[in-house]
């Protein structure tokens, strides 16, 4: 149980490439923080710096109030779940779970108690005497989690732990990780590039881009009020439509802040019936009707500018491809941005 405080951290590689610029992040005790961003944004590097697998070029990382910059990974009392699980192939599942405890000189009966407890929680007791290669991907994933929880560390670090699983298993494991983290209340840092995983798991979401934090906040807060164009485009599927303000000037009485030149509209806020209150009216041609199940996506071309936009509408909306549509967006659903700064203007 511990907080993690990252202060002014930089990572500069030997070649002079800066992977992380002056990053600050405070993770309180028991929180599950998800670092999300495109590949190469520095999220894994940051995680590895917390783990002690990468040197910190500048700044400090403190776990439980103690600066750990100079400490070996073993001394930081953290556990990590790797993308490829990193199970020791020559040891049984039990051997894998015990390894970290044995290295720390835990008494035998305590080791057995913890291993059996972890095996019970993760339902891997029947496989304890098998080797990793005899297990399925999902089972290996559980063993990797087991290896983390038997240690009862101050923090869990997850490095894209689900990306090697198929979609169905990934959904299941996601729920299990969340449940496990809730029950154990262990501070966790979870790295992923999958925004669905990020949204569903996070207590707090950290969106990273090019070695910098774009925005930190609760997943829904980020969805509802993205601070930058990058976050607006990264969080949400299908992504937010971004429309030039000049196109919208004659579509309704705009009351947007000074400096706004790009307006974001979430696909699910585009309506086909006229809403109450102030709104925009746009005309478009439906090019593609994409039924998803619970909802349908309409890919449309705006009249005038010819820009492609996407709307998410209820499943059985009666639209035909090639038909003209009238689109309504409430003024309160607009996200004003400035292209130059890439930031929100309100």
């Amino acid at each position: 149980m511990a907080s993690i405080d990252i202060t002014g951290v930089k990572k500069i590689y030997a070649g002079g490439v800066t992977a992380i610029h002056n990053l600050d992040l405070a993770i309180p005790d028991g929180e599950l923080v998800v670092l999300v961003g495109p590949s190469g944004c520095g999220k894994s590097t940051l995680l590895r710096m917390i783990a002690g697998l990468e040197a910190i070029s500048e700044g400090t990382i403190a776990i439980d109030g103690t600066v750990v910059n100079a400490k070996e990974p073993a001394e930081r009392d953290i556990a990590m779940v790797f993308q490829n699980y990193a199970l020791y192939p020559h040891m049984t599942v039990r051997g894998n779970l015990e390894y970290g405890l044995k290295n720390r000189g835990t008494p035998r009966d305590e080791i057995d108690r913890r291993v059996n407890e972890a095996a019970r929680i993760l339902e891997i007791a029947p496989f304890l005497d098998r080797r990793p290669r005899q297990l399925s991907g999902g089972q290996r994933q559980r063993v990797a989690m087991g290896r983390a929880i038997v240690r009862q560390p101050k923090a869990f670090l997850f490095d894209e732990p689900l990306s090697n699983l198929d979609a169905k298993l990934r959904g299941q494991m996601r729920i299990e990780i969340k449940r496990l983290q809730r029950n154990l209340a262990t501070t966790s840092v979870y790295v992923t590039h999958d925004q669905l995983e990020a949204m569903t798991l996070a207590d707090r979401l950290v969106v990273m881009n090019a070695g910098r934090i774009e925005q930190v906040g609760a997943p829904l807060a980020l969805y509802e009020r993205p601070a930058t164009l990058f976050v607006a485009g990264f969080i949400g599927s299908p992504p937010m439509n971004l429309i030039e303000i000049d196109y919208l000037r004659d579509k309704g009485a705009l009351t947007l802040p000074e400096g706004t030149d790009l307006v974001g509209i979430r696909p699910d806020t585009i309506q086909l019936t006229q809403p109450e209150g102030p709104h925009l009216v746009m005309h478009a041609t439906v090019e593609l009707y994409e039924p998803i199940g619970g909802e349908s996506h309409l890919h449309m071309r705006l009249e005038g500018s010819g820009q492609l936009i996407v709307a998410a509408v209820p499943a059985r909306t009666a639209v035909t491809e090639g038909a003209k549509a009238v689109l309504y967006v409430s003024m309160s659903d607009l996200h004003p941005f400035n292209k130059e700064t890439g930031r929100r203007t309100d």
Binding site: A74, M80, R104
Partner: protein, 294 residues
Amino acid sequence: MQAKRTVFPNKGLPYLLLVPQLAVTLIFFIWPALQAVKSSFEREDPFGFKTTFVWFENYRRLFIDPLYLSTVSKTAIFAVSVTALSMSLSLILAVAVNRVLRTNRLYTTLLVWPYAVAPVVVGILWWFMFNPTIGIAPYMLRAVGISWNHRVDGVDAMVLIIIAASWKQISYNFLFFVAGLQSVPQSLIEAAAIDGAGPFKRFWTIVFPLLAPTTFFLLIVNINYAMFDTFGIIDATTQGGPAQATNTLVYKVYTDGFIGLNIGSSSAQSVVLMIIVIALTAIQFRYVERRIQY
């Protein structure tokens, strides 16, 4: 791994394509081997006029000959020492090179050079360095109070051929160990580091067990090398002496057969060696594939 079968339209063609290799094998390997088996049951009179079939007499004499039995133990000492020395040194070098990130190609290239040196040249090289009269090594050893003379001291001679034979084999082992080390996933080492294992513990509990297939393969190859492939080195340095101190099984086949002209005994010794090689190869084929732990 199932290789794709190629189907030849003409049934005779595949056999025709195999003929050159089969011919070489038959003429240069199988036929001489059979000749050796045949003459191991025969005794030649001193002037080469008459050959008598003597059943297992050559073998019987061999295994009651104290000289031969001492050669067996000399060979065992030599093979075990060469294997242990060259494998441990090459493992240390491989681990060291594997830790160096930027220049490891350079080190690898340099460390492989000895393998390109012909065995006789290796022998001569070490013979010069350890030459009691003009060599640098005895000169330096004298400074620390050790008198080195492999011409009269059997232990010195054995040490010399062990050093020379190991030196040459280090390159070969090194290459396999480097490749083996590089195939150990980095994340396993990182996981072990987080699991509280220091560098030595990581090596012995994670890396070394994962190298087991490589180590086992090299063990067999090195024993084979030390027992059968070191003729050139011994011939160029000690020639089996002094007083048979460095006479290994292979070298004795040569001295008994070509110097002593006792073809029958020499052939019987060859057959014994052949059986050892076959046994080692069988072990290798049977276990090398199976021992892989992944």
